[in-house]
Amino acid sequence: MHVSKFKDAEHLVRLAVVCVVVFAIFLLVRAHFVPKSFGQYGHFRGDALAEQAAKPISYAGHKACVDCHADVVEVKKAGKHAGVNCEACHGPLAKHVEDPAAVVPQLPDTAVICARCHEENIAKPKTFPQVVSKQHSGGEVCKSCHVPHSPLMQPGDKKS
């Protein structure tokens, strides 16, 4: 009688089949639960980047202001506030850029907004122009004397 060396080979085949099936199930489960974009950029869900990037903006950015209000930018250029972006004082205006007619920005209160930067504080850089507003103007709004976009005195007044 011929005795095969691999008489019980069928057992091994069955075991191999079970292994293959288990591995296939693992792959399917993994494919189901791991987001498709996982590993696209690194060990995280790649779509998370696109989701972050898709959030809406509130501040339109200086370029959007310049596109329509070039005249104001021209006035600002000559003065000390040349480097201050519009929205730093006028607030978030992305909605105004989307629909300029529907969303009209309110004029900021200069008595409040100017003091935020120019109220005297010991920790401010010494070269930065600062005043104690009570002594300086007695609570009067800044723009009655100063031009906010180019903050010297109003035209016709004496410069001080």
């Binding site: 974009s37 869900r45 990037a53 898709a54 903006i57 950015g61 730093a88 504080n121």
Partner: protein, 242 residues
């Protein structure tokens, strides 16, 4: 019995399944390539006037809940001979500006604080679920759909830049206004800084002014001894700042 024929028939199915496993999504924006940027920020203490514009702008732009901060301001008072024990105050994160100081003499200055977007960020390393990650463009972000709110990252951050969102119960932090910088805009804090004390910097862009600035000025990061690879570069940072 598995025959060679059966295996051959299975191959296309397996190939299809494998493609499904590996399938990715397209780039996040047609005009933005993550590989072409390496973001950081330049914070110039010499120029900071403590107005709090950055804090307010950040809160508006990113819907930061009241009492929590993605960026905040600190006022330092270093009295003579006491470099190691500065007095620091930050009323409401500097959001409403700072009241007149009661400090007399010494050294006084403002320090804007934010996420340092570390290249080797401790917060990413400790996250047990991979919710916090380093984007290929150097921004450290939180995938809030993965975050389980365990607070490990909040403890791990040596700069105290993270908090748990009071209603979402997931970790929150500065995203470097990822939704803005990927659109070619600057961050809300930089946009609203009236003195240019904060400048967004793309370190991979050779034309970015940061390279020229760093070449000609003394620049330091916070807690350099921790080797976090912080990318918030401070100009004229005092040794007393923690």
């Amino acid at each position: 019995m598995i025959t060679r024929r059966k295996i051959l028939m299975l191959l296309p199915a397996a190939a299809f399944a494998w493609k499904y496993v590996l399938a990715g999504t397209p780039e996040l924006s047609p005009n933005y390539s993550v590989k072409e940027h390496w973001w950081g920020m330049l914070l110039d203490i010499d120029k900071c006037i403590g107005c709090g514009s950055c804090v307010r702008a950040c809160a508006t732009e990113n819907n930061v809940p009241e009492g929590y901060f993605r960026t905040w301001m600190e006022r330092y008072h270093v009295s003579d001979w006491q470099q190691e024990t500065p007095q620091v105050d930050s009323p409401n994160g500097g959001k409403d500006g700072f009241p007149p100081s009661t400090a007399v003499g010494g050294k006084n200055f403002f320090v804007p604080k934010m996420c340092n977007h570390c290249a080797d960020s401790p917060c990413t390393q400790v996250c047990p679920v991979g919710a916090t990650f380093d984007a290929p463009d150097g921004v450290v972000l939180v995938d809030s759909t993965y975050c389980v709110g365990c607070r490990y990252c909040i403890q791990a951050c040596p700069y105290g830049c993270r908090f748990l969102h009071p209603t979402k119960h997931t970790a929150e932090k500065c995203s470097l206004c990822y939704h803005r910088i990927t659109k070619g805009l600057t961050t809300a804090c930089c946009e609203n800084c009236p003195t240019g004390a904060r400048q967004l910097a793309d370190l991979k862009n050779p034309a970015d002014p940061i390279h020229e600035f760093v070449k000609n000025h003394s620049v330091q990061v916070l807690k350099p001894h921790l080797a976090t690879g912080a990318k918030a570069y401070y100009h004229d940072l005092d040794g007393s700042v923690r």
